[in-house]
Amino acid sequence: MSTPTVTHTKDTDTVSDVLFAQGEDQLEANELVENQGFELSLLDALEAEAVHIIREVVAEFERPALLFSGGKDSVVMLHLAAKAFWPAPVPIPLLHVDTGHNFPEVLEFRDDTVARLGVRLEVARVQDYIDDGRLQERADGTRNPLQTQPLLDAISQHRFDALFGGGRRDEEKARAKERVISLRDEFGQWDPRNQRPELWDLYNGRHRPGEHVRAFPLSNWTELDVWRYIERENIDLPPLYYAHYRDVVERDGMLLAVGEFITPRESETVESRLVRYRTVGDMSCTGAVESDAKDVADVITEIAATRITERGATRADDRLSEAAMEDRKKEGYF
């Protein structure tokens, strides 16, 4: 059994307050729900599987942590963790690898969520590494590839032996071959040729000192599943997931937000467009999509009809090569 270190502040709400605060069908205390259908809906099945994975990892590892960026997948994962241990608080800390190129509204959302749930947040900052020369800014300005070292250092500093990530197998070709519990060596590297077979729902998390695992409870979810679950559970997200007007420039077929990290080039025109984000990452390489989807229901309609994958639409770093994600996973990123 793990010995979690959790910080609780006295003013925070209980998990019950947080989880069920906005639910339309909020239950009266002790009201019993009949549960007799004996068939799991898709979302129920995915939720039950994710909760099972989360509980397995928290029970079997000494020091698990949950990677939390404020992006929708990590928010859903945190919500599942809160449900998994209800009515106790989430028994593990969160870790954010901060590129320094953040959307301010996402950072604000992150801090609000942490305060509400009363969990501990550790932050590993890419900026610190750039400031003291351990890492150098890349010519293209993107900091996503720079996250690996701060992440691995945080893992060894806190002696984390399991990290929950929001990765989904539908996202990308390399991820389609990823295990739910994925072993990483002391360099954080993923070896696709040497993965452990994963049988039934028996997860083998044994590892040697220095090794750790990445655990992906959302492995079998698709982008649409995530959104339908957000709708069903009334989960709050940073506002930039919904349509808003923003000053953008079009670069390499993507809409990038003009601001501190993106300066318009001479040939580029700054326009105010109605956009939203499908993924949230490094502000310098995460593109917005034109959209008038103002709420969850609109987003679901939009995604159900879309013809472009989430990463294809919005991530400059994944466009670098056919195998960009594969290379980053091997290097110890996700």
């Binding site: 059994m1 609780h8 209980t14 998990v15 019950s16 307050d17 989880l19 019993l32 729900v33 009949e34 549960n35 007799q36 004996f38 068939e39 799991l40 809906s41 898709l42 129920d44 099945a45 995915l46 939720e47 039950a48 909760v51 509980r55 397995e56 928290v58 029970a59 449900k83 998994a84 241990f85 209800w86 009515p87 106790a88 197998r169 539908d170 070709k173 390399a174 389609a176 071959k177 072993l183 696709p192 040729r193 993965q195 452990r196 077979p197 049988l199 039934w200 729902d201 028996l202 083998n204 044994r206 040697r208 698709t222 599943d225 013809r307 472009i308 994958t309 294809g312 056919e322 594969e326």
Partner: protein, 434 residues
């Protein structure tokens, strides 16, 4: 209500499996524009006319460079009523390991055969694995039907062969259908070329297969994952809360049901059931829940709550069937770890007693198991587990063997002599070691 069905594919090299999977994804409109663009680009680079749908399932760079598939890949597609998780298992490299992995979680296996070649040794091996792993449904896609001029006679001949082979292996439910993955015949859409075929298309069939077993038939089994005790951190209301978190492995549990805690054998009553924050009247197979008990008794991770009326007897002696997945061979006397439900115990392999010849489906004497072998063993455990025969219960009858030094998963294990049990039902032994 949209439901989930887990599939695994199996087939020999060149049966057209990648094309079939690509066709399912493409015709069910699960392929998006940027993915298709990339496939079209690569197809053009290779001098092909149309888009080679097999490329949709190409994964890693190493695979593209060598033109092989390394590992099981997971694909997702959906129709209005059902979402599918497809474990795409490569046919040649690490054949048993991949197929066993895919089949272990599958509700249905889609097995491909080439209409020209008919049943190969490999086909029988795939059927044997599906039977061994007790996959509820086996669907045989007789592919490349266009290359035998859409011949009804040829299809019916193969259908007879398949049904005979399956029933010899004890597979109850098998369905064959004529398809051409390349031409898109009977995968998602019907074709005038096979007007003689009145059955469903592959996708129609997959949409209507029952998912999972009927939960009300199974005995209640609940391996405890974690003990939830918020004390003061959950608020005053939950100060004395003590719940046992886990996933219902089989059956149904209701408030006031009498349950036995294994391996201790103590009995109590269910006082309450919480479904991820909501109190409920019952929980059933597949649900992650938290159970509160009427009496304060000692329950920890690794214990199981089971229905009192048919509680299994915990045992430290297990007869099992293994699919051996490691490079180093297994010999009698090996010391390993055994992971069963939520518990891991030390184990000694007392005897390797037989080896399955996958081609003849016969059990032969054997003293060791090599990579990809399937065989029977006798295990002695350091402490008893609440194991049941795999043929009765997939969840409480399955286990892993783990190398204590490297942590590697050595074997997929099934409690009971699955070989004599499923391969030759008539010779099924009257009593098992457990």
């Amino acid at each position: 209500m949209s439901t989930l069905l887990r599939l695994a594919t199996a087939g020999s090299v060149d049966d057209g499996k990648s094309t079939l999977v690509g066709r399912l994804l493409f015709d069910s409109k699960s392929v998006l524009a940027d993915q298709l663009e990339s496939v079209e680009r690569v197809s053009r680079d290779r001098g092909l006319e149309g888009a080679d749908l097999a490329l949709l399932t190409d994964g890693l760079r190493a695979e593209r460079e060598q033109g092989i598939t390394i590992d099981v890949a997971y694909r997702y597609f959906a129709t209005a009523n059902r979402t599918f998780i497809l474990a795409d298992c490569p046919g040649h490299v690490q054949y048993t390991r991949n197929t066993v992995t895919g089949a272990s979680t599958a509700d249905a296996v889609v097995l491909l055969i080439d209409a020209r070649k008919g049943l190969l040794e490999q086909t029988r091996r795939h059927l044997a694995v599906a039977s061994l792993l007790r996959v509820p449904h086996v669907v045989v896609a007789v592919n490349k039907i266009d290359l035998v001029d859409y011949s009804q006679a040829r299809f019916e001949e193969l259908e007879r062969d398949i049904t005979a082979a399956a029933s010899a292996l004890g597979i109850a439910s098998i369905t064959a259908l004529p398809v051409s993955a390349l031409e898109g015949v009977n995968v998602v859409d019907r074709s005038p070329h096979t007007s003689w075929y009145a059955g469903p298309t592959l996708l129609e069939l997959l949409e209507t297969l029952p998912s999972g077993a009927d939960v009300q038939d199974g005995s209640f089994r609940f391996p405890v994952q974690y003990v939830i005790r918020p004390q003061l951190a959950g608020g005053e209301e939950f100060r004395d809360y003590r719940g046992y978190a886990g996933r219902v492995a089989s059956g149904v549990v209701r408030i006031n049901d009498e349950v036995t805690v294994l391996p201790s054998g103590k009995t109590t009553r269910v006082a309450g059931i919480d479904l991820l924050g909501k109190p409920v009247s019952a929980a059933f197979a597949g649900q992650s829940a938290t159970i509160r008990l009427a009496d304060e008794i000692d329950v920890t991770r690794g214990d199981s709550l089971v229905s009192r009326s048919d509680a299994p007897a915990p045992t430290a002696d297990v007869q099992g069937t293994l699919a051996w997945l490691a490079e180093q061979p297994l010999r009698s006397g090996a010391r390993v770890l055994l992971k069963h439900t939520t518990t891991t115990v030390q184990a000694i392999v007392r005897e390797v007693s037989g080896k399955l010849n996958l081609d003849t489906a016969a059990v032969e004497p054997g003293e060791s198991l090599e990579l990809n072998d399937i065989g029977t063993v006798t295990l002695r455990l350091a402490s008893p587990i609440a194991a049941e025969e795999y043929a009765r219960n997939r969840a409480t009858g399955s286990f892993l063997l783990i190398d204590p030094a490297s942590g590697y998963t050595l074997a997929a294990g099934m409690v009971g002599n699955a070989l004599t049990g499923t391969i030759n039902p008539e010779t099924r032994p009257l009593s098992y070691a457990i």
